[in-house]
């Protein structure tokens, strides 16, 4: 969950005065609008009323002026006019002549219906004009006495707009406007007051929320009244209280946690320091122990030489005649000292392998030559265990690229191991054939007790992983088998075992075929296994004929465990080395090694061509293409043995 920090919270602030003024302005506008509307209405009514009144007043004067000299219409004045003339002159709606009983005698009107619906009330005893108010037309009726005709009193009624009705309407309107104003302004005023209170409450809440957001100390909001704001304030106070408590708890927990972490860190540091001390001590002890055993092994060499030489001189009769029984016993002495001697060799090699100082001289060898070199010794060892030794070499097996001593020792150690686990009369097979990829595979097969397949699979891994265990006798396999892994590794091959309980074991190792490109792959594989992220450097060294091996030897002295010299032809070899990041220093070192050769006379020459320095995966392609280019223009890279095309994995 994302943590919310006080800085991220932004609450827009609206000052209270601003809110208040905005509300007041709204109320003011409403009131002003109301007042203006009322005034307009009043003005309209007033003007209508005034118009009608003026009009009514004008009627009499108009009638008087137009009908002067005529029988009277108004009080005590007689005018002669027809009803139509009267209507026209007075703009009245209608004109009616009635008798004393208010029965119509003659009538003229703009609208017959208007007249028809006119209801006339009977006149009083006097003949004074009367105003009829009850007309459904809400018209003002002017009544005037007419000169009597044939003894009959006559009156003229004129239908005029009802001014009194208009007045009533005006008054009603005014009352309505005032009432509406009061009705609206009252609640508005009330609402305004309420709003002010709410705004002030909201403002307080707003301030409190701001403080909360900025992690300021929380103060409760004042609660006034019983409205929503009050409820909100109560809820806020409640929430703020809980939040405050939570915050305090959180801070406390945080502090506690920090203290605990610090405590643990201190403990861990202490433990680490102790471990480091122990580690250093252990490394020192191990180093001392290894150095001691190294020295002991060295010291073994001389007495061993004495024992075997004295015994062999005696057996050979150089010190006088010996009996058969003496010869047999002395042979035991010689054999035992020979075994001890091998053990010492193994041990010293193992320590050199560990230190990376074992001298490696990889060259091209035929499989037969390799086998021939060690076969007499293998047969001797087999004979001692009364085990039959058989060898099978695939016809036309390709030559290998290896240090023949290391390869021989590998074969001897594996065979000695096979003999050791064989019963008298059993056979041990040494089989050589093409392996997977560009490799030659050597199998040493026994018919001994075997071991569980999973043990066989992890056998060499364990040797590889436990550098201390390497020196200890591992499950009775002895030191010899322990260093096999390293011996094979410096020869750019792999070693593994396959076995089943009761069915014997097969120990196999590979050596690269003699082909520069494949050897480069095998060399890179070895570097990659040791250090997958390594950079690898490549150089081509050229030098005069006889000096090549010498130079290779010098370089081997100066070199490290992972360097590989690969001959291209009689005068050139590729040198790959890694892990490295400093190709130039290496090239300089090489040139230094070369100098003595260059100073030698005549046909001696030497040079170093720097190919480059790359990550391993790139080095494969780069070196391969560099080599292909060089070998196309130079001498052939090797003999024409078919080689596996696959890259070794």
């Amino acid at each position: 969950m994302r943590g919310v920090h006080a800085e991220e919270v932004s609450v827009r602030s609206l000052p209270q005065s601003q809110m208040r003024s905005r509300l007041s302005r709204i109320v003011l506008v409403i009131i002003v609008f109301q007042a203006v509307a009322g005034l307009v209405m009043l003005a309209v009514v007033q003007s209508a009323w005034r118009t009608e009144l003026d009009h009514a007043r004008a009627v009499a004067s108009l009638a008087a002026s137009r009908l002067s000299g005529q029988p009277l219409v108004s009080h005590n004045t007689y005018v002669h006019a027809t009803l139509d003339q009267i209507i026209e002159a007075s703009d009245a709606r209608f004109a009616v002549v009635v008798d004393e009983e208010r029965r119509p005698i003659a009538a003229r009107g703009i609208d017959g219906d208007t007249f028809a619906s006119l209801h006339l009330e009977p006149a009083g005893a006097d003949t004074q004009p009367a105003v009829v108010h009850h007309s459904p037309l809400r018209l003002l009726t002017l009544e005037a006495a007419l000169p009597p005709t044939a003894g009959m009193k006559r009156f003229l009624l004129l239908g005029m707009p009802d001014i009194a009705g208009l007045r009533t309407l005006r008054d009603g309107l005014i009352a309505g406007v005032v009432a509406a104003a009061i009705t609206i302004a009252g609640p508005l005023l009330f609402f305004n007051l309420r709003l002010r209170r709410w705004m002030s409450g909201l403002h307080e809440l707003h301030t409190a929320i701001r403080r909360l957001a900025l992690d300021c100390p929380i103060t409760p909001v004042a609660v006034a009244g019983n409205d929503e704001i009050a409820y909100l304030s109560v809820a806020f106070n409640d929430m703020a209280g809980k939040l405050s408590a939570n915050r305090r708890a959180l801070l406390a927990a945080n502090a506690q946690l920090e203290e605990r972490v610090a405590q643990r860190t201190r403990e861990l540091d202490e433990a680490n320091r102790m471990l480091q001390r122990q580690n250093t001590k252990l490394a020192e002890v191990t180093e001392t122990a290894l150095r001691f055993t190294d020295d002991v092994a060295h010291e073994f060499r001389t007495p061993l030489t004495v024992i075997s030489e004295c015994a062999s001189a005696t057996v050979d009769g150089l010190a006088g005649p010996v009996t058969d029984a003496q010869t047999e016993l002395l042979t035991f002495v010689m054999n035992a000292s020979g075994e001890l001697s091998e053990l010492v060799d193994d041990f010293l090699d193992s320590s050199k392998l560990r230190a990376g100082t074992l001298r490696i001289e990889r060259r091209r060898h035929s499989v037969q030559a390799l086998l021939d070199k060690v076969w007499p010794m293998l047969e001797r060892r087999a004979a001692k265990g009364e085990v039959r030794l058989e060898r099978h070499v695939e016809p036309e097996a390709p030559d290998v690229f290896a240090d023949i001593d290391k390869a021989g020792r590998t074969l001897v150690n594996l065979t000695v191991n096979a003999v050791k686990f064989s019963r008298p009369g059993d056979a041990v097979f040494v089989s050589v054939h093409r392996g997977a990829g560009p490799f030659v595979q050597f199998d040493v097969i026994d018919h001994g007790p075997g071991m569980p397949p999973e043990d066989a699979e992890t056998l060499f891994q364990r040797f590889q992983q436990t550098s201390i265990g390497r020196e200890s006798m591992h499950k009775g396999f002895g030191l010899g088998l322990n260093i096999v892994h390293d011996l094979v590794s410096v020869n750019l091959g792999q070693v593994w075992a396959e076995s089943r309980p009761g069915e014997g074991s097969t120990f196999s190792f590979t050596l690269p075929q003699f082909n520069p490109v494949d050897i480069i792959d095998a060399g890179l594989d070895r570097i990659e296994r040791a250090s997958p992220q390594a950079d690898v450097g490549g150089l081509i060294v050229t030098c005069g004929g006889a000096n090549l091996q010498d130079l290779a030897r010098r370089l081997a002295h100066a070199g490290r465990a992972f360097d590989v010299h690969i001959p291209i032809d009689a005068q050139r070899f590729v040198l790959i080395f890694g892990p490295t990041s400093d190709l130039s220093r290496w090239a300089a070192n090489l040139r230094e090694s070369i100098e003595p050769i260059e100073s030698e006379p005549e046909d001696s020459f030497a040079s170093v061509e720097v190919l480059g320095c790359w990550p391993i995966h790139q080095a494969r392609t780069e070196l391969r293409s560099a080599l292909t280019t060089r070998t196309q223009h130079g001498a052939p890279a090797g003999r024409n043995e078919p080689v596996g095309s696959g890259v070794d994995t």
Partner: protein, 136 residues
């Protein structure tokens, strides 16, 4: 018949010395055995051997000091020297090479190997033999 080649062996290990003497004599060499550098130098001057077989670590000075003195001497400056040592360090080779040793043989070894080296050194008396010549 040619005179048997005279080999001076200087080694502080008497057992090894005896066995080697027996073996080399059986091969037709004449062997003078000494156990320290002082005797070695002394016998060199007296017997003028054809080849010196020197242990590196001996009482009364190392094999290197014997070699150095022999090299500087007026009577016997050209005697080929072969080192016989149990010391596996590279420095031995470097030093031996600097002094112009004919070969370095590492113990443990056999009398046969030693004889082979002696013969090859004597055969190529006047040629430069590299210190790493095949000793196996």
């Amino acid at each position: 018949m040619t005179r048997p080649k005279k080999i001076l062996i200087a080694d502080d290990n008497l057992g090894f010395l005896k066995a080697l003497k027996l073996r080399l004599e059986a091969m037709g060499f004449e062997v003078i055995q000494v156990q320290d550098s002082y005797q070695a130098l002394e016998c060199c001057r007296r017997h003028k051997p054809d080849l010196l077989l020197l242990d590196v670590n001996m009482p009364a000075g190392s094999g290197f000091s014997v070699h150095d003195r022999v090299r500087r001497s007026e009577e016997i400056p050209d005697i080929p020297v072969v080192y016989l040592t149990g010391d596996a360090r590279e420095s031995v080779d470097t030093k031996a090479e600097a002094l112009g040793a004919a070969a370095v043989i590492r113990k443990p070894t056999t009398a046969d190997t030693i004889a082979k080296v002696i013969w090859s050194v004597l055969d190529s008396r006047n040629t430069i033999v590299k210190p790493h010549a095949d000793a196996a």
